[in-house]
């Protein structure tokens, strides 16, 4: 029992890698491998962000596939989320589902809800796989449309939470809720008391773990809190992996304390 609900975001940007890696044959994979080995004892999930791999074209896609294969082989208990924010008409979403659940064997994929039911359901046809649907995101622009309210006062992110429960239950669907959203977690928990929430935005984006736990945790924990930059880029010397491990351990200890305070360990 790890006493952790930490997800480490693998946002490997070639322009930010420690200089010592740049001579490697596949710097991105070498970086990920070192980060994974150092942080795996403290986390329960990894979240490669597809944008960072695609931005390097074929080379990046190779590094992505190698990273997933490495995790599967050496850390089979880790949950792997493709952070891809996909969503398109049915036959196209089916192809994205094939990408992440067949071509690469991930556990979950983040999906954008704008296009509605038939853009999401093709991801739900895979036994044991999860959709992580965007609800209330961590960024400033989340206010532009997600907070729009209808005549009954229901906001867009609430409508997404409510309607999407018609498509799958808490065994197949999670929601993205930004760590920066504070007490909105209370509103969200009224609609989805039992679901897992994937919470980005702790660390570089300014969200507070303590606040997320206070307002977002349920009786089964129900949280996966992601940290990317604050862990993987904590150090840029040859020591980067050890420092990343320490940072992950620090977060894990805070998580253990939050779990203990609620008798969840």
């Amino acid at each position: 029992m790890k006493q952790s609900f930490l997800c480490v975001g693998l946002d490997a940007d070639i322009r930010k890698l420690p200089a010592c890696l740049l001579q490697e044959e596949d710097p991105i994979f070498s970086f990920n491998k070192a980060i994974i080995d150092a942080t795996a004892p403290y986390c329960v999930a990894y979240k490669p962000n597809l944008a960072f791999y695609e931005s390097m074209g074929v080379r990046g896609w190779v590094a992505f596939e190698k990273t997933v294969a490495y995790l599967r082989q050496h850390y089979p208990d880790q949950f792997i989320i493709a952070d891809a924010k996909r969503g398109d008409i049915g036959n196209t979403s089916a192809m994205y589902a094939r990408t992440f659940f067949e071509e690469t064997n991930l556990d979950a994929v983040t999906v954008a809800p704008y296009m509605g039911e038939d853009s999401v359901t093709p991801f739900l046809t895979y036994e044991g796989k999860w959709v992580v649907l965007l609800a209330l995101t961590s960024n400033k622009g989340s206010h532009d449309f997600q907070l729009m309210a209808d005549e009954q006062g229901e906001r867009l992110f609430e409508k997404v939470l409510r309607k999407s429960q018609e498509w799958a239950g808490s065994d197949r669907m999670m929601y993205v809720v930004g760590a920066t959203q504070g007490r909105a977690f209370e509103d969200i928990r009224r609609i989805v008391p039992d679901h897992f929430l994937l919470v980005p935005g702790v660390g570089a984006q300014g969200g507070s773990l303590e606040e997320v736990c206070r307002y977002g945790m349920n009786a089964q924990c129900g949280l996966l809190v992601n940290s990317s930059r604050a862990i993987i880029y904590a150090d840029s010397t040859e020591d980067f992996a050890r420092v990343a491990g320490e940072k992950a351990q620090e977060v894990q200890r805070q998580m253990a304390a939050e779990l203990a305070a609620r008798n969840l360990v």
Copy 2:
């Protein structure tokens, strides 16, 4: 002057390719190349749909890059749209922009608006490149959230059209409006009279070109109408490219008639 506003969607699905191509070294690229050579006289744009390439992993990404390079070399006047429906927090959207505007040199990318301003603006920092923002899509699920209305009666897709004009003008931004949306084009043209609209959904999805022109065309045409399956999979024998060319020509002739009827040629 081609008298065309046709965009051909390159949704190459390995499971649907003519059998005669399956022995080729890169069947997807061979298919695209033949389709492009046959249809280029009748269209002004191509729209590779990323899902279809990603679903084949590295092989698919290679085929995507080769397709773009082939278009650039042989048909430099064709406008190339990455149909990717991306959109994420600022630093991640910046990586997607790098993917489509630097790593591969496309002209435009489709973007999903759910995450708001800072998820879209990183795509707008590239001179001469375009964002094609989802407004009112062609699928059934478009009704789930896009038609939600606020207290003043403004619907989500209208809010997207209105707000996004603060981020860029009609020289950098287009909108996706499904061909299946009929008279909603009139509402849309009231908000964005001058913008180009990228219109999918003619053909396999049941939209009508004549209706799209009646309600959506402006004084500069202002439309890019996409057809994918109805052209590229019109025939599955060795004759597939010739038949695709004929289908494209058929659509182009209808377009020429629509343009002529409005004195736009």
